[in-house]
């Protein structure tokens, strides 16, 4: 899936893409009514360029990126540490289970109004909402990961007289890391969804606000330019994550390849 172009150039795929883009360009140029809703691609790219020259959109990009990173990293730190504790100490988990199962199914965007009440409509509110939403997948996966660690590993650690803290840090954390990374990967698009949504709801800068604002001002080509930017942001973040994952999990892949299958 990744780096598909390296293996072989996908000519039919590229041809479909080119045909679609040509169709888009031609049909929107021929029909003025359609042009209003769906400007030709060339026009969208032009306005993207103009927006960059005006520097307006750069600020929105950075705002969104900053909020996303703040919320995502915070939730990663929080959820991984809580998840390891909850996965390791079964009694604590039993106490919290019903609470978690009660909060988890509620769509996380429903927390936005509460966050507005408590934190106003600034950066803090967006970050708080992102933390809340990103926490669940990471937390659940981390708990699962710690549970699925081979009991022998932990018992061996105990036999060698490791302290509980060391066991958590040196055995539970690395042992659960494949699961933790899955949780982190699931949370990545969720974080972006929550940032853009709360920007749409409360306004005040950011790409989500920009897109909705351009739609309401009927500058449609700017709106599409904003969408392209968000998609690009999501794509780059995902790529970055894959690079990080393959760096961090080199040991794991090696282990799987050598071990008996």
């Amino acid at each position: 899936m990744h780096f598909a172009w390296k293996e072989k150039l996908n000519l039919p795929g590229l041809a479909t893409l080119a045909a679609l883009l040509l169709l888009w360009e031609a049909s929107t140029r021929l029909s003025p009514t359609l042009q209003f809703y769906f400007p030709p691609l060339s026009q969208i790219l032009l306005s993207l360029f103009d927006l960059f020259l005006a520097r307006e959109v750069v600020g929105h990009c950075l705002t969104t990126l900053g909020r996303f990173l703040g919320g995502y990293l915070l939730s990663a730190a929080l959820a991984v540490s809580c998840g390891i504790a909850l996965g390791y100490f079964r009694r604590t988990y039993n106490l919290c289970e019903v609470l978690i199962e009660f909060l988890r199914p509620m769509p996380s965007v429903a927390i936005i109004p509460v966050a507005i009440l408590f934190l106003g409509i600034g950066d803090r509110m967006v970050v708080a909402v992102t933390v809340y939403a990103c926490t669940w997948p990471i937390l659940i996966n981390t708990i699962d990961g710690v549970r699925n660690i081979d009991g022998t590993l932990i018992d061996t650690g105990r036999t060698f007289g490791l302290s509980r803290w060391t066991i958590l840090r040196k055995i539970a954390l690395p042992g659960a890391s494949p699961y933790i990374l899955t949780g982190l990967r699931i949370s990545l698009p969720i974080g972006l969804i929550l940032v853009t949504t709360s920007e749409m709801v409360v306004g005040g800068g950011g790409l989500g606000f920009f897109i909705l604002d351009e739609e309401r001002s009927l500058r449609t080509s700017n709106m599409y330019a904003g969408i392209i930017l968000v998609a690009l942001l999501g794509y780059l973040l995902n790529r970055l994550f894959l690079v990080f994952e393959s760096k961090a999990m080199v040991w794991h892949r090696g282990m799987r390849a050598e071990g008996p299958v």
Partner: protein, 258 residues
């Protein structure tokens, strides 16, 4: 997962303990009670809203939109995913377009849908349809591609027609992963219906919650969230019920292998 009767009781006690603590924090004005009304007040307005039919009405509106988008996505993208898994050329034709459209976060589609469809139901249905597309499509594709080749070749050896092979061999063999896609999409659907109602709507449960907040009817806002949590939980349980009844054979197969 092991289920221990005692553990469930402990968890319930914690949940029940939250209620009086909440009540005390709010009544003692440790947090501004305007933002954090006492639990008794929230529960009262919850029951009032449920019995007056307000919340059930809003939820039914949202459910209608969610169901339309979700089912439409399933009807379109499961066959497409199967076609992509079976025929390499279909996959190659669509691969680049899918990889380009997939990173678009679904909420930014809301303004586009508003432009084309206005604020009506079609807008929400389209947004849900778009956002459910990727989990369903890619899981179906993966499921079909990872089918044991021996199964397909056996069907071919026995001269099963192509249609028969798709219905009797490929669809069942890929169904666990199709189900995974459908399950992920269920959560996505619920999120997107709330988002699209918050951004562009005049009714539905998402609008109800945001509107209560804007009018500072905070107890109603919490009541709406409570009903949303119950809705999410119920839908998930219903799906699990459906899953275990459809895939009972698969569960048996897995436990036998172990």
């Amino acid at each position: 997962m092991k289920w221990n009767k005692e553990s469930k009781l402990n968890g319930l006690i914690v949940l029940l303990a939250v209620i009086p603590i909440w009540e005390l924090v709010s009544r003692g004005e440790l947090v501004n009670p305007l933002f954090f009304p006492p639990m008794s007040k929230i529960l009262r307005s919850f029951f009032l809203l449920v019995f007056s039919g307000d919340i059930p009405y809003q939820i039914l509106l949202s459910l209608k939109r969610a169901a339309a988008g979700y089912l439409l996505a399933a009807i379109v993208f499961i066959p497409l995913g199967i076609a992509m898994g079976l025929f390499g050329w279909v996959h190659r034709l669509l691969e680049i377009i899918i990889e380009m459209a997939r990173p678009i976060p679904p909420p930014v589609v809301v303004p586009v849908a508003m432009l084309f469809f206005g604020l009506g139901d079609e807008m929400k249905v389209f947004v849900i349809f778009f956002s459910c597309a990727w989990p369903i499509l890619l899981n179906t594709f993966d499921g079909v591609r990872n089918i044991d080749r021996i199964l397909i070749n056996t069907a071919r050896t026995f001269r099963v027609s192509r249609r028969g092979a798709i219905l009797k061999v490929i669809l069942p063999a890929a169904s666990p992963q199709i189900m995974t896609g459908l399950r992920i999409s269920l959560a996505v659907t619920l999120i997107l219906v709330v988002i699209s109602e918050m951004v562009g709507s005049t009714d539905g449960i998402g609008y109800f919650i945001l509107d209560s907040q804007r009018r500072f009817k905070v107890d109603q806002m919490y009541a709406g969230m409570l009903s949303l949590a119950i809705l999410g939980y119920t839908l998930n349980q219903l799906f699990l019920l459906f899953y275990s009844s459809v895939l009972a054979w698969h569960k048996g197969l897995i436990s036998k292998q172990r």
